[in-house]
């Protein structure tokens, strides 16, 4: 089974976001702690590694973004993904339609010497833009079925059984491969890279292809920080001495 996993490099913030001077993007110089992936996508990569461990085949991570997206791919090669592809952009943001089209092209290309992909895994929504659609658009372009929001996945005899959490119960879907599946955080617990894993990752291939950016149809104009009530917590005390004051708060707000 050949599996493609699509992931997106995003900046990580600690407490607060800071925007650039013209409010068109996040100021990654002054407000960020590094770059990362959405937990949904880390789980998608973990699912791919587990499926290949169980069924054989290969796993490929595809990321559309700046050249440095290779850093995030390298982290996933260290946990067992076999190869990476960067669809390189100049850093301008691509809308979901353009993103899906470019990723679809890479899925159509298949795996060198190993044939076509059987499964594409994505996050349900991207960490930053949360458009909820790239996987669905890819499925339409490929002519494959798609199941979204998946929190439980087993594959046997070319059929994927997918579970989706809804309130307190789970819905079950079944699709024949090839298929697109978008997963959610919690479907598994992604492993951490080991030192041998990191060493192996250095030798795994990451190909780069150039992306051709079409005009956006969902066009970002500007960003803003929502108005939030500025608060500074009232300190009730230090250590266990603060317990009586805490119990008073419980009484005041009526929880006891």
């Amino acid at each position: 089974m050949n599996i493609a996993v699509c992931v997106k490099r995003v900046p990580l913030s600690g407490g607060r976001w800071v925007l650039n001077a013209d409010s068109t993007d996040i100021d990654t110089e002054s407000s960020f702690l590094g770059f990362t992936l959405s937990p949904h996508e880390e789980c998608a990569a973990e699912a791919a590694v587990q499926l290949v461990e169980a069924n054989g085949g290969s796993s490929t991570v595809i990321s559309l973004g700046v050249a440095e997206s290779a850093e995030q791919i390298r982290d996933l090669l260290a946990v067992g993904i076999d190869r990476g592809v960067v669809v390189e952009t100049d850093g301008t943001e691509w809308d979901p339609q353009a993103t899906a089209a470019a990723l679809t092209e890479q899925v159509r290309a298949g795996v060198p010497d190993a044939g076509a992909f059987d499964l594409v895994l994505l996050g349900t929504e991207a960490a930053d833009t949360a458009d909820y659609q790239v996987g669905i658009r890819m499925a339409h372009a490929l002519g494959w079925p798609v199941v979204t929001n998946v929190k439980g996945l087993t594959i046997s005899d070319g059929v994927a059984r997918c579970e989706r959490a809804v309130g307190s119960h789970r819905e079950v879907y079944e699709v024949a491969l090839p298929a697109v599946i978008t997963v959610k955080d919690g479907i598994n617990i992604p492993r951490y890279p080991s030192v041998p894993g990191r060493i192996k990752a250095r030798k795994k291939p990451i190909d780069t292809v150039a992306g051709e950016h079409p005009a956006p149809r969902l066009e970002k104009v500007r960003l803003e920080l929502p108005e939030v009530e500025e608060r500074s917590a009232t300190v009730l005390g230090t250590g266990a001495d603060a317990v009586p004051a805490l119990v008073d708060v419980f009484r005041q707000i009526g929880v006891i």
Partner: protein, 319 residues
């Protein structure tokens, strides 16, 4: 005219769909609602009470339970027939899914998690939408004759606006491929204890709790207060607690009366899930942790000494 896709489960309308109807009413008086599946017939009165003028009920033998692509196919047929200015849905998992399918069928853009909409006759509609779970807002132009958008939950309050609603039943033309992906079974459910999403009190733990065993006093306090235990992603990644208890951007969004954050730093992705709590109490060794900017009350100190004492004192106070 606006078409709203109504999200219902076996005939029970998702309340967020009524918010979507109210959002649509603000754009146009003529709001026509698409309900998919014969069991959705029961939703018409509620939709009419909130201002729907027509309910289009898509009925087909192959539509036995939720079937995302078929729902989008039915919406596509309404778009062709009625030429609405916009198709809107609640920003629920189903709403986002059906509108994304519709976007793919129409080869049109779709704006998810939208907080405001300004329609334009020229087809350059302006939207404001959430990014980073609502930590940032994006103003965007949607270049399309028909605006497709899902409404961010709870950004609109559903209001009644009674119309004499007409029900129109139709049979969408469906290919077998449109119904290939559908709910074929339901499992689980029940489950004891108070669910995170409905809990009035949540006692939540982060990395500072240190281990699975460290949650004992959090479990005890939650039980005393009739609440539930929550946690941060660090905790679920370490396997200390199940993912169903994770609060945040990729976990559950909660709005309890009281949220107690023990050993949680207050990363924006965690706050995205608990900012609607009425009162937040932070227990943290670091007086400068970001959570202090969101909490109403704080105790500075080691949760391992604060929590057991708090459990005892709460037990005593309850008598």
């Amino acid at each position: 005219m606006i078409v709203v896709y109504a999200d219902h489960d076996l005939g029970i309308l998702d309340p967020l769909s009524l918010q979507a109807v109210t959002a649509a009413k603000a754009l146009d008086a003529d709001v026509q609602v698409l309900v998919v599946g014969a069991d959705g017939r029961s939703t018409a009165d509620e939709l009419g009470a909130h201002g729907a003028t027509v309910v289009h009920l898509a009925v087909h033998d192959a539509l036995t339970d939720y079937t995302p692509l078929a729902a989008a196919r039915a919406a596509q047929q309404l778009v062709t027939e009625l030429s609405p200015q916009a198709v809107i849905s609640a920003g629920t998992p189903r709403g986002n899914e059906v509108l994304a399918h519709l976007g793919a069928l129409l080869d049109a853009p779709m704006s998810a998690d939208t907080v405001s909409i300004t329609l334009s006759a020229s087809g350059d509609h302006e939207v404001v939408r959430n990014r980073w779970g609502g930590n940032l807002l994006e103003t965007a132009i949607v270049h399309a004759p028909v605006l497709l958008a899902t409404i961010a939950p709870h950004t609109v309050t559903a209001v009644e606006s009674p119309e004499s609603v007409t029900m129109r039943e139709f049979t969408p033309a469906l290919d077998p491929i449109d119904t290939a992906v559908r709910v074929i079974d339901r499992t689980g459910g029940g489950g004891g204890g108070i669910g995170l999403a409905d809990a009035r009190v949540i006692v939540s733990g982060g990395r500072g709790v240190g281990s699975a065993e460290g949650f004992e006093s959090l479990d005890q306090l939650a039980e005393l207060l009739g609440g539930a235990v929550g946690c941060s992603r660090v905790v679920t990644s370490a396997g200390w607690r199940p993912h169903s208890e994770q609060v945040g951007q990729t976990g559950t969004k909660v709005a309890p009366d009281l949220y107690i954050a023990c050993g949680i730093s207050g990363a924006t992705q965690h706050i995205a899930g608990c900012r609607s709590a009425k009162t937040i109490i932070a227990i943290n060794t670091d007086k400068d942790a970001p959570i202090m900017g969101f909490a109403h009350y704080a105790v500075i100190g080691d949760l391992h000494s604060v929590m057991p004492a708090l459990v005892e004192a709460t037990r005593a106070a309850k008598g």
